[in-house]
Symmetry: C2
Subunit: 408 residues, 2 copies
């Protein structure tokens, strides 16, 4: 995620309500026991809207609704519930998602077409609309320009920590802010995840440019993380730009466009990293880089296979320098590899060189790498110039405990 460009932004404390003109709020409406389960994010004026969504063929009802809103390119509000994904809910699911938009629009005096809807949680249970109706009425009264942290908590499911970030940069001499929040800690895989992320900015951004900028940032952040290889039905990233900063609309060609893009990439990268670090039961953050692939696609295929191998992930948990499992994955994942040149490194230490145990292999050094909270696994296939990187975590018994007790 490091572009080697100057960091023309500074990090500030905050989240989605840090940019001017945004308010947020949260309440509990009874979908989840005691925890907040309804969040509302509002822009005080029309905002350009961009979005990225799950590629799951059984995408949930609210994803279909948000896709329509993003096609329009404009929105005012986003209503989110946690605890229930409104997925696999058939025609009723669509009716309910549209009703959530209508209820929110009514309460705010907006048109339903300007309200986005997201749901996350259990799949296959119809939304408890009576509870949501009262929740939506209640959350409007909670709206505040300090409401970002409350909203970040209300979108959580198995997350242990809320995930927020805000950056400030200068555009045309004016201070501009970008805020973000995200949820997700399981069912996380490249091509999005059981993951919701919301970005806000008070910069004015041309609508098509906002969409292009978001897709590029998502590709190098949320699409590069994996916790367990499962891609959800509900993954959604939405980005609202309301122009409250008063700059002329940003787009390619604007002198500060690249700076803005880099800041958006940073926000997405940081939120993605927070998701992996909060991976269910995770104790380690691992960067898996594959180079020397026949193509970038093959490098990606290998990096994903390694990052999702249960045997590899459990060995990381055990701080076990069992690089043989990485070697095994490289062999079965379907990519071209030079068996006599293959290299596997943990941070700066070779495990495999010239396709076999390196004379420089030092198990104690490898184990010391694995005992760190963060490390890099580098695999060089020695076939071509293809390269890719995936960010992931280890798999602990706690992951299994969490996921064997989710609905019941």
């Amino acid at each position: 995620m490091d572009l080697g460009m100057p960091n023309a932004w500074i990090e500030i404390e905050g989240g989605v309500t840090s940019p001017a003109g945004f308010q947020a709020g949260a309440v509990n409406c009874g979908i989840r026991s005691k925890k907040p389960d309804v969040a509302l994010l509002l822009s005080d004026r029309d905002a350009a809207l961009a979005g990225a969504f799950t590629s799951n063929r059984l995408a949930a009802a609210p994803v279909a609704l948000c896709r329509e809103r993003v096609a329009r390119g404009q929105a005012r509000a986003i209503i989110v519930n946690s605890g229930n994904a409104n997925a696999a809910t058939g025609a009723q699911g669509i009716v309910d998602a549209e009703r959530m938009a209508a209820l929110t629009a009514d309460a705010l005096g907006l048109s339903a077409a300007s309200v986005c809807v997201c749901s996350t949680g259990t799949i296959g249970v119809t939304l408890p609309m009576a509870r949501l109706e009262s929740g939506i009425r209640a959350v409007v009264s909670q709206l505040s320009s300090d409401g970002g942290p409350a909203a970040a908590r209300a979108i959580m499911t198995t997350d242990l920590v809320p995930k927020e970030i805000a950056l400030e940069l200068t555009i045309e001499g004016k201070p501009v802010r970008i805020g973000g929040m995200a949820k997700g800690s399981g069912m996380i895989d490249p091509n999005l995840a059981t993951m919701l992320a919301y970005l806000t900015t008070d910069a004015a951004v041309e609508s098509a440019a906002l969409q292009a900028c978001l897709l590029e940032a998502v590709q190098d952040s949320f699409n590069r993380i994996t916790v367990d290889g499962d891609e959800s039905t509900n993954d959604t990233v939405l980005f609202m730009a309301n122009g409250a900063a008063g700059n002329s609309p940003l787009q390619p060609g604007h002198a500060e466009w690249d700076c803005f893009v880099q800041a958006v990439r940073e926000v997405c990268g940081r939120l993605a990293r927070m998701i992996v670090k909060d991976g269910e039961g995770a104790t380690k953050y691992v960067t898996v880089t594959v180079q020397g692939g026949a193509s970038d696609g093959e490098a990606r295929q290998a990096a994903r296979a390694i990052a999702n191998s249960l045997l590899v992930k459990t060995s990381w948990y055990g701080c076990d320098p069992n690089w043989g499992r990485v070697y095994d994955v490289v062999g079965y994942c379907g990519v071209s590899v030079d068996p006599n040149a293959l290299e596997i490194k943990l941070d700066d230490h070779f495990a495999v060189r010239n396709g076999t145990v390196s004379t420089a292999t030092d198990l104690k050094s490898l184990q010391a790498v694995l005992r760190q909270d963060e490390f890099t696994l580098l695999v060089d296939l020695h076939v071509g110039d293809g390269t890719d990187t995936v960010y992931t975590c280890d798999c602990s018994p706690e992951y299994v405990r969490i996921n064997s007790e989710y609905t019941t």
Copy 2:
């Protein structure tokens, strides 16, 4: 695995030494602490040899050696060590595998070309040849026609139980036996697994027919099981037919060929089932059948994705009727599905019908299914006639514990 044909065989107690003319033995040579780690299987006469191997591109040295032996179609002996896979060991690995064959051949007065070699265990450590040399000398003196059970124990790594079976059938009025043993409980995935299996028969079988029969049986047994989705560098199935029963060589067209084939399928099916049941940390045996696929290949793709989903496997462990995770996998695994017709059933109970929660969905019944040691998950994609079945197990915290502590 049920072909709907009459079972013309009976099961008898025994394993690879049950057929006439086979001896086996086992010793500890110090690769594993105290546990037997060298097994030898010997036919008293030339036997037709068939084999099936891992598709891993980084196949271990002994796999290359066995492929050569199978190409010749004949063998006398198989030497196996556990505790060290002789994989990722470069040129030295090949030298060592050939030396194992030569040492065994010398001790038995055979040609090295008639000795197969297998290794299973840790990847990337050069074989301790001095220990193996003394082990091979010692195991020859342990050969016995009662040695099957000892050999079945010596090939184990993380297996909790040895895996043996023997069947008796009648060919041309003569009693014929087929015996088998296998190891494997982790790094198990379709297209073979970290899995070794050995079949013996005293039937005379034409060499090409033996190979065809074995491949067909492997396809419907070892290639349909998955524990963790990882396919090993060492998977090998070998089948020796020594003709001690005195029948005319079996081949297609022989009146009892189909009966023999069915018995071989039964042996492979039973051994494959034993491997899944002994899956590391497994508490449940699950049959995943996908029908209604656009093709058999798509049905297989979906069945494998479901069987390897960590979220699905952990929900089984928790007896959690979280069919939403199955729904999610169906959506992301890349196969065609009719979202409005999709069905998901646990044994005879619908979880999803017409693409959504069935009015007949009864969580208590679903939970009762999951509380069983064995159950069937049926998914109907409602797109075409493609169908496939995979056999798998759940994922428990114990799996993670076992695999985070393997080499260290």
